[in-house]
């Protein structure tokens, strides 16, 4: 006799068992703490075709600062995510949400392309993203700029966290979107050349970096054409850390001492270079490593000026 499976709810992936407890805490404290969202400037622009004489393409740009409230959590994070070889997605909002959503949709696009036997289109990616985000009613805080080139030409979309989308020739998102949009509105024109488009995108991101607190550090650019994608990580670095003007090292002898005894804790060290689960491979030379060297070992420990 065949047993019938007991009816159980499908696995939704998220655990809500702390919901009532969080509501209780929210009433006791000043309110439920919100997931900290990152300030960002992300932009996209379509270029090429028409009188420019160059082929069509999409240029995406992003800053590289990730903030957690008032603190910079990551000074050089990557906001341009991979979806397919010819589609890229910039993400603003909650960093974990944009990361996971783009990873999931990237996997689904690969499966889709394999089953259809042709490269995935940008509208497919947009539809998958919007249907996923709508289901979660905006609780998945991912605001995305999706751009790519497929058989239908260059496409540029924005997807908001609640699932609404826009199709436009130039877009900006994130907390620095107004600063970047001001640059676009004054300087965008149709059928730009590739260098012009990259310069415009870099200028828009720089505008967001310098005028918005939530954006900062470097400029990342990605240029997508029908031949492929060129990723220019840290295309501009307008916020290099300056060399400190004063020396903070203390002169040897600043503090007096009466007795000195130095004992090395490592008597000798031998490093054998092997591959294959650490088993000894014949014919590989054994190199003894001088003690004290290594990360922070020798050169970082200057005491004398």
């Amino acid at each position: 006799m065949v047993a019938a499976k007991s009816v159980e709810a499908p696995n939704i992936g998220f655990d809500f068992s702390n919901y009532a407890r969080n509501q209780f805490f929210g009433e006791r404290l000043q309110g439920i703490p919100k997931a900290t969202s990152t300030g960002t400037t992300i932009v996209g622009v379509i270029f090429g075709g028409g009188d420019s004489g160059e082929e069509y393409g999409v240029c995406l740009g992003a800053d590289t600062r990730a903030t957690g409230g008032p603190i910079v959590a990551d000074k050089n994070c990557e906001k341009i995510h991979y979806l397919t070889p010819q589609i890229r997605c910039c993400g603003a909002g909650t960093a974990a949400d944009t990361e996971f959503v783009t990873n999931l949709i990237s996997s689904n696009l690969e499966l889709h392309a394999l089953s259809q036997g042709r490269p995935a289109r940008v509208v497919t990616a947009m539809t998958m993203l919007k249907q996923y985000l709508f289901r979660y009613q905006g609780q998945v805080g991912a605001h995305l700029v999706l751009g790519g080139v497929d058989v239908t030409g260059p496409q540029l979309f924005t997807v908001h966290a609640h699932g609404s989308t826009d199709k436009l020739p130039y877009v900006t998102m994130g907390s620095g979107s107004l600063a970047a949009m001001a640059v676009f509105e004054s300087s965008f024109r149709e059928n730009m050349k590739r260098e012009e488009a990259i310069a415009l995108v870099a200028r828009a991101i720089r505008s967001g970096i310098f005028n918005d607190l939530g954006s900062g550090s470097n400029v990342d650019v990605a240029v997508i054409t029908k031949n492929g994608t060129e990723n220019m990580r840290n295309y501009e670095m307008p916020n290099e850390r300056g060399i400190k003007s004063r020396n903070y090292k203390f002169r040897r002898g600043t503090t007096a001492w009466t007795k000195e005894a130095v004992r090395s804790l490592i008597v000798s060290e031998e490093i054998k270079s092997t591959t294959g689960a650490g088993k000894d491979q014949g014919g590989v030379e054994v190199v003894p490593v001088p003690t004290g060297a290594g990360a922070g070992g020798e050169e970082g420990m200057e005491i004398d000026t």
Partner: protein
């Protein structure tokens, strides 16, 4: 015949085993206040406000989509087509004798959600990944430890 696209705003979820003590909470500790409200009972878990509306929406999502599809197929092609599909799904979801055989890996359910490929193909979920396929949520992907318990539950003993 309902052609609803999204689940109705649910009061709660189908997870009856989630017991929450919000309505009977002690003002300091947050746990169930036996002194004021008596011993804990199962009816507390179904009170409004105890469960998240989003959870109910997510749990009913797949069911609502299949119901929409079935209703549209019924009005377009007649009763035979959705009936045949439902019959095939019922056949494919019949369990084997031993729950251990259902699990493809030693550690438990394979990544991707289920080892029943036929059922996934019939439901149209064989070529997509969803959040529930790689995140456990409140269920764990670990191996079956109590086989007798699983067998008893599946046969209603």
């Amino acid at each position: 015949m309902s052609l609803r696209l999204v689940p109705a705003s649910a009061q709660g979820s189908t997870e009856a085993h989630v017991v929450s003590s919000q309505a009977t909470a002690h003002p300091i500790s947050g746990t169930h206040d036996t002194f004021r409200h008596g011993l804990k009972s199962a009816s507390q878990s179904v009170q409004a406000g105890n469960v998240s509306a989003l959870q109910g929406r997510l749990e009913k999502w797949q069911e609502t989509q299949t119901r929409l599809q079935q209703n549209m197929q019924r009005s377009t092609f007649g009763l035979a087509l959705p009936l045949k599909q439902a019959m095939e799904i019922k056949i494919a979801s019949q369990e084997l004798h031993n729950p251990l055989l259902e699990q493809a890996t030693i550690t438990g359910v394979p990544l991707g959600g289920s080892s029943n490929l036929a059922l996934e193909v019939l439901r149209g979920q064989d070529e997509t990944l969803d959040a529930g396929d790689f995140m456990g949520g409140s269920t764990s992907f670990s191996e079956v430890l109590d086989i007798s318990g699983v067998m008893e539950r599946s046969r209603g003993i």
